[in-house]
């Protein structure tokens, strides 16, 4: 049954990875402004011209 412990650790590591990813994105400011990126992406194609 100890394989469960290994599985548990793997699952925690993966979940922990996502947690770190989330914290990182928060720290990076991705959650500071939730309105402008949604608008900005509409112009992405046009900008590259």
């Amino acid at each position: 049954m100890s394989v469960i412990i290994i599985l548990l650790i793997i699952s925690l590591l993966i979940a922990g990875g996502f947690l770190i990813g989330f914290l990182w994105s928060v720290k990076d400011g991705q959650f500071d402004d939730q309105q402008s990126p949604a608008q900005r992406m509409l112009f992405d194609n046009e900008l590259k011209k």
Partner: protein, 806 residues
């Protein structure tokens, strides 16, 4: 450019109606030269996509500009306050642009480098209406950046207040961290606990069990000691101030749950309640987040400083020096241009002064000031250049004196909400139940069961359900209010709003429009030729009343006026086309044309005969009388205004005879009146006002709501801001707040059923973690679903769901 757009008489840039069809380029018409100029700038730089993205995306530009307006931005001291980073090549600055309102704005502002090549990059924060700009300070200057922004119609909002505090506001990210961590820990603890719930006793391997429990315990530590800190802080704050708030029993329950879980795990007695505990923290944090999503673009704490310009032009030895406002000294000679605010008390020395005090004192008509007379701080010059000698500095002026009133320094007192009271009784009740159960088991000699009962009762007793329903309901109400352009400073205001029983209104700018007066004529029919004659005479005078009437007559060409004479404060006379015309007050003209109309009267006398009179009255906002009729049924009303009493009869009729109506009130008197209502009559007062003269009253009242014409207008410090177009819905908003309170009570009662079930097990000392783990999410989800469903249903009921998007 597509030609498919219907050519109507709307400004191509801002969408306002076009009255003068001579301003245009090709088929495109503009309402004013300002808008046309913006269009030309954009066309020159091939930025006309701006118009393709949204119809008429611009903001009206009918302000005249002058080239040296931003001279003060070359002043190093001021510049350094606005630039927050600078190296050898580049400087960074963040500017607040209240005009940002659509995706076209975002596109244009992020392409501004095409207009001003010195700008390296710009990034818009839509929520905060800020633009972050990196520019090369060898190629352009801060002034250049600001001028390019103004050129395309986005005039940055620069004010003393922002300078003092630093304009770059940082968003608080800790709540995200807390939610993220709590969510992660909750999910993983739950996963491991589930294993425990699904096996019959003893089936799970002890080794695995120990590992599971240890990890659960480790995971619960950050939840309790990091994510839940705000509950402990708030509980401690309440204790320190000797009052029991709702966070105290929550904090208590969390601690007891944690300790008991550790105890169980160490003794091998069970799995503990760590899953329930972290789940509760997670849900409560989300609730708090929903509730605290305040409106970042709206500032509720503005004082007079935000209203004033940053710098003034001071003339010294015939040289104009832009000077930061705090450095302007007594006896300095200052220049003030059209539409600028005079930030100091000063004596007029040159120029034609028509000062609009409506914002400072509530007077609806502008006041003509003669040379040598005093101009008070806060007045706005309407047209023409003025030179004034400073009498009192900014910090000592008549206007700023109001801010020395202790009410402005008072810290926000702890407002007990009724939910705290419920929470308190709830806690007491539960403690008593716990003790009785404990004593019962003690008597029966079952000490183990006794401890079980006492602790589990406390765990179940956590009034998190009340907290959850409060947070989720208020959060949704705030959101719905926001969609309807009614913005509240904090969720506590909703509850205060539901308790008011007296409403005080301001007149100028609140129930009447700031711009525009109603001019009506009564008397003999005047043919066009005579109208031209009257208008010609009126155009000779700069008195505000004359200007209003001549605007009303709207005559383009003028006849010659001979022997023009103006009697100060009385009226004007002169000869036009062989006729002697006298216009002015009834004393001056020599009699009145009798009408029952209310308002300022301007009587016309032609060749000794009184032909008629013009009445100038305030324009009331749309739906105001209907609103007052509705409010009258439920609340007592009064009106307090700084203006003269020409509208008395109108207002008294609207409000009813029993209401108090006061005119000519100073800001201090307004404040004192609110105080009297509160202390003598024990009313919960709501004040609705708009100007600086209301700010004392707004602060003193239980709920102070400021009316804003556009959401980038200055509004004095208040508990909430309402868009003037939505003022007529105020009664609905109040009813919605009251209904919101009922929703909280209903959902709380329903969730109390879960608590009773929990208690049923707890007092018997047999509340197992499984039961807790089932009850907890059930109760939370029921509450969230119910509050959401009920508030949405109510918003439909009150027709608050037909909203326009931002």
């Amino acid at each position: 450019m597509s030609n498919s757009r219907a050519i109507s008489l709307q400004c191509y840039h801002c969408g306002n109606d076009v009255f003068n069809s001579t301003i245009g380029i090709g088929e495109k018409l503009f309402c004013c030269n300002g808008c046309k100029m913006v269009y030309e700038i954009l066309q020159d730089h091939q930025l006309c996509n701006y118009y393709e993205l949204n119809e008429q995306p611009g903001v009206i530009q009918n302000k005249s500009r002058r080239s040296d307006k931003y001279n003060f931005l070359d002043n190093t001291e001021i510049k350094n306050k606005l630039i927050h980073f600078s190296n050898q090549k580049n400087s960074h600055t963040t500017l607040y642009l209240p005009q940002i309102h659509c995706s076209s704005c975002l596109w244009l502002l992020e392409n501004i480098h095409k207009i001003n090549p010195g700008i390296i990059s710009s990034r818009v924060n839509f929520t905060k209406k800020e633009v972050f700009i990196v520019f090369n300070h060898h190629e352009t200057s801060l002034r250049g950046v600001v001028e390019s922004l103004e050129g395309i119609g986005y005039e940055p909002y620069l004010s003393l207040n922002e300078l003092a505090t630093g304009s770059v506001s940082k968003t608080d990210r800790t709540r995200w961290y807390k939610i993220g961590i709590a969510g992660f820990c909750f999910a993983n603890i739950m996963m491991m606990s589930l294993a425990h719930y699904f096996v019959s006793n003893g089936f799970i391997d002890t080794k695995i069990e120990i590992v599971f429990q240890t990890i659960s315990l480790l995971l619960s530590i950050p939840v309790l000691f990091y994510s839940a800190t705000e509950f402990f802080k708030s509980a401690w704050y309440g204790l320190k101030n000797r009052y029991l708030n709702i966070d105290l029993p929550v904090a208590l329950a969390l601690v007891i749950t944690f300790i008991r879980s550790i105890y169980e795990i160490i003794n091998g007695a069970g799995n503990g309640y760590l899953d329930s505990m972290s789940g509760i923290v997670f849900f409560m944090l989300i609730g708090r987040w929903l509730q605290s999503r305040t409106y970042q673009t709206i500032s509720f704490d503005r004082d007079y400083k935000s209203f004033f310009p940053i710098a003034l032009n001071v003339i010294k030895d015939n040289i104009v020096i832009p000077t930061e406002i705090s450095n302007v000294k007594v006896n300095d000679l200052i220049q003030v241009y059209s539409n600028e605010i005079i930030p100091v008390d000063a004596i007029l020395s040159k120029g034609n002064a028509n000062i609009d005090y409506s914002f400072v004192s509530g007077e609806s008509l502008p006041i003509k000031v003669n040379i040598g007379e005093l101009v008070y701080a806060g007045g706005k010059q309407l047209e023409g250049l003025l030179e004034l000698v400073v009498v009192k500095e900014v910090s000592q002026s008549y206007l700023t004196n109001l801010w020395n009133n202790p009410i402005f320094n008072k810290k926000e007192s702890i407002q007990k909400s009724s939910y705290d009271t419920i929470g308190k009784y709830f806690t007491y009740a539960v403690l008593v139940i716990g003790l009785i159960a404990g004593m019962y088991w003690f008597k029966m000699g079952e000490t183990k069961l006794m401890w079980n009962a006492i602790t589990t009762v406390l765990i179940v007793a956590c009034p998190c359900a009340l907290l959850l329903s409060q947070n989720y309901t208020n959060g949704n109400i705030l959101r719905i209010f926001g969609l309807n352009k009614f913005y509240l400073r904090s969720p506590e205001i909703i509850e205060r709003l539901s308790r008011i029983n007296h409403i005080v209104l301001d007149k100028t700018g609140t129930i009447t429009q700031t711009k525009g007066s109603n001019v009506k004529y009564a008397g003999k029919l005047l043919n066009h030729a005579i109208q031209v004659d009257v208008a010609s005479l009126l155009k000779q005078s700069s008195h505000p009343a004359s200007q209003l009437v001549s605007d009303f007559l709207n005559v383009p060409n003028v006849s010659m006026v001979k022997h023009f004479k103006e009697t100060e404060g009385q009226g004007i006379e002169g000869w036009v086309n062989e006729k002697h015309i006298k216009i002015g007050s009834s004393n001056f003209v020599g009699g009145a044309y009798f009408t029952e109309r209310q308002g300022t009267k301007v009587v016309v006398n032609i060749d000794g005969e009184i032909v008629g009179e013009y009445t100038i009255s305030n324009k009331y906002r749309f739906g105001v009388s209907k609103l007052i009729q509705a409010l009258k049924k439920k609340y007592t009303l009064s009106l307090i205004s700084g203006d003269n009493n020409t509208e008395l009869a109108n207002i008294q009729e609207m409000l009813g005879k029993e209401s108090d109506v006061f005119f000519n009130q100073s800001p201090q008197q307004k404040l004192d009146y609110i105080k009297e209502l509160q202390n003598v009559y024990h009313f919960n007062v709501m004040m609705i006002g708009d100007g600086l003269n209301d700010s004392g009253a707004l602060k003193q009242s239980d709920v102070g709501i400021a009316v804003a014409e556009t959401n980038n207008n200055f509004t004095p410090s208040s508990d909430g801001v309402i868009d003037s177009s939505k003022l007529s819905m105020l009664n609905t908003f109040i009813q919605f707040a009251i209904a919101g309170k009922k929703i909280i009570y209903i959902t709380f009662s329903i969730s109390a059923i879960y608590n009773v079930i929990g208690l049923y097990f707890a007092i018997q000392g047999i509340l197992s973690p499984v039961v807790a783990a089932i009850l907890m999410p059930c109760s939370s989800i029921t509450i969230i679903a119910l509050t959401y469903g009920l508030t949405e249903w109510l918003s439909k009921y009150y027709q608050l769901n037909q909203t326009s998007k931002l």
